[in-house]
Symmetry: D2
Subunit: 258 residues, 4 copies
Amino acid sequence: MSQPIRVVVWGENFHENHDEPVREIYPDGMHTAIAEGIRTHLGEGAEVETRVLQDDSQGITDELLASADVLLWWGHARHDEVSDETATRVQRAVQSGLGLIVLHSGHHSKPFIQLMGTSCNLDWRGSDDRELVWTVDPSHPIAQGVPHPIVIDSEEMYGEPFDIPAPDQLIFVSSFSGGEVIRSGATWTRGRGRVFYFRPGDQEYPTYFHPDVRRVIANAVQWVAPANGRQAPVVNRRPAGWFETGERLEAADPRLQV
Amino acid sequence: MSQPIRVVVWGENFHENHDEPVREIYPDGMHTAIAEGIRTHLGEGAEVETRVLQDDSQGITDELLASADVLLWWGHARHDEVSDETATRVQRAVQSGLGLIVLHSGHHSKPFIQLMGTSCNLDWRGSDDRELVWTVDPSHPIAQGVPHPIVIDSEEMYGEPFDIPAPDQLIFVSSFSGGEVIRSGATWTRGRGRVFYFRPGDQEYPTYFHPDVRRVIANAVQWVAPANGRQAPVVNRRPAGWFETGERLEAADPRLQV
Amino acid sequence: MSQPIRVVVWGENFHENHDEPVREIYPDGMHTAIAEGIRTHLGEGAEVETRVLQDDSQGITDELLASADVLLWWGHARHDEVSDETATRVQRAVQSGLGLIVLHSGHHSKPFIQLMGTSCNLDWRGSDDRELVWTVDPSHPIAQGVPHPIVIDSEEMYGEPFDIPAPDQLIFVSSFSGGEVIRSGATWTRGRGRVFYFRPGDQEYPTYFHPDVRRVIANAVQWVAPANGRQAPVVNRRPAGWFETGERLEAADPRLQV
Amino acid sequence: MSQPIRVVVWGENFHENHDEPVREIYPDGMHTAIAEGIRTHLGEGAEVETRVLQDDSQGITDELLASADVLLWWGHARHDEVSDETATRVQRAVQSGLGLIVLHSGHHSKPFIQLMGTSCNLDWRGSDDRELVWTVDPSHPIAQGVPHPIVIDSEEMYGEPFDIPAPDQLIFVSSFSGGEVIRSGATWTRGRGRVFYFRPGDQEYPTYFHPDVRRVIANAVQWVAPANGRQAPVVNRRPAGWFETGERLEAADPRLQV
């Protein structure tokens, strides 16, 4: 039997401690609700831990990144408190194969912006829109068992233009009561790592208890988990015929390609 | 008649001043040879300037980035001397619509790495390989008038894996005498800006005098030039029905999306 | 000065002659309104002709396909009357570089289905929905000068899943009053030919008089026009070193690749 | 435990019976060698059958297509003997979720051409080139455990331009002794079905006994197997609010979208 997927849910854990309405919805934190949903769906197929911004090393150590298969990221009001070093450590882990799922307002998190290379800006409105999440790629494993559409009664609106690179795969598009639309479920690969962005999940609504949202996230955990193992991208200086002889040249500074 | 494209060729300008063999090939600098090729092909259709790392502000000012349509970037031995601030300024200009052409060893330049989100690593060998540049998308404007293949008698080898995001459009694939291949001409869009990477052009060979290489670069200048003008990506807070009323809400901090 | 783009607007021309409400909106036919919009925007930059299903050879001759740069296709109730031979002739012309713009219910036309390889099915409702056409790729030339969103007061609804291959470029996504969404402006390349599908334009509404819809169509005419000339895809039997010697081997039957 | 993948290897089975050198390499037929490779790698994870052109119904019945998960296709000299009806039956099965792996000269088979919408032409030479198969997407499950490069000592050359739609995912690029290159491993989705094209496998060489080629094919069988079950694409006429009420309108002719 295959090994369980090692999953880390990272939460900013700010609103839950400062905004009473959020605390009422998520008394144990949003990260806990997200983790529960994954455990419910994947059972013994996943080992799920949580980390928060307030932990040592902002919850992100090299050991954790090396041993994890999948990292989920929820942040919003404290993106700037995540250090550049933490963000770059996450970015490098993704490049080596760590799967990353960025949720909702995480579109403006440092790791996501660094991996995308764009501003990741979008339009928004906080006023109880109904969100409909439509599947545009019914062949994709992340859409498995997901109703068409997912109906979320109340959510924040995010609208296009969403300043992201053209996705490798566009899976979901959402519409809102106000008529706006956004590419709400999309994938990219960076190095060996798969990245999935999923829009729903404002802190003011109980979205992470929604069974279809949980299903998408559980599917995504399985899909972003590294298929071919972890390996950091390298630079090799190669002699002619190396692939027949196995030879490899030394390069004092691999980035200096004379 | 349409306005000429405003082009800036940026050169690191190091090897030309420190390595005698390079100086002999490019006595006026590599940037000058690149600029000449563009002028030859586009004539009055382009206004071409050059900048080098040794210029004030590393050759990259806000005024220059605001007025330019297209920036070409050649760097190799001094990537680290380009400040993070300069690189980020270039990145933001691209996001607002500046066209960017990254040449050869510029794959490891800061602006390119920041725009791609990957390591941009690859394999390499410096030993006079013949490079054949094959067109895999003959419909693309950048391939217009380009022979199949382009034959470059002597070049440095760059080989896969080339750690880049999956290109929006793959136009050229090169093979080398040693049998290696690389995706050698590819495009991405970041915000409103188009990016083209073109592999040939090691400093030890007279590649930027090669008529077909010049043709590709001139085609690319026309293709990456902004089609829809320049505009930085923004965040808008939107009331319901804004697109019918023209209304726009204020947001104290546009990045704080409550 | 560059040559004008030679444009042919092909119309099924059935509803206009059989349904009184359609005749009132388009007394000269839908194809005529589409052609007028292109002429208005492109002026001397385009030579626009119209053809209809009732013409000799169903309006599609080899001469026409050879001399045209761009073909627009509107059909709905009589897709099956278009012969397989006509559809295949259009398909081959696209493969050789003819630009093709498929409008609204043309999603089920034979040429489009043959070029896509999918069923091109979708969901629909005819009940006066408001359509909002959102730009998701503001860098694309087809989006130039197009408001965000385009507001069309009354239209038929088309909804996902739209069974098309993943577009090379997704430019527009529409939402409807009922909450449905569809990828409403998308491009593909087939051989040397560019294909653009644009959703608005049900016969029961005056959509082809809408200034923004006309703008998109005019932009698309310019974008799908062949950049690199026309050339049918071929099979070449190649001796070793052919690209240096110019040699070409004979192959009795080019499809029999022994 | 999950069900075994039901795999059908379809062989044209012509050269093996008419060309003595081919018979010597593949005394039991090429399809048998391909099937053996899959069985070796996947064991109880796959149930593998073979069918040939000479079977009843050309080896392709509706029952077979309905019960299979994955179909592999090798054809070359008798593409035209495959009936249009057989090809269309395969195409529709793919659209409903059947995984399809097209091998080598199958690039000119009717099912592949119909699914791609292009000519699928390419250049070729039969003269014992060494083929190197380079991985350009090391994150892809089809590349799992595959050496970089795969070295195939003798093969037919296939070269660009390969007239295919831009792949959804480009996994392998091959080079040949003569210097030519081709996109040699690529994927597309059509409806719910995944398609993988893999270039190696000319009948004159023992390529389907090559362990790395077998590994790629076995990986591909797992990857193209339908993730979300089989379902033919449909057209639904939808009333407003259908997704809340569960209502569905009748449409006399689903293709007539008034």
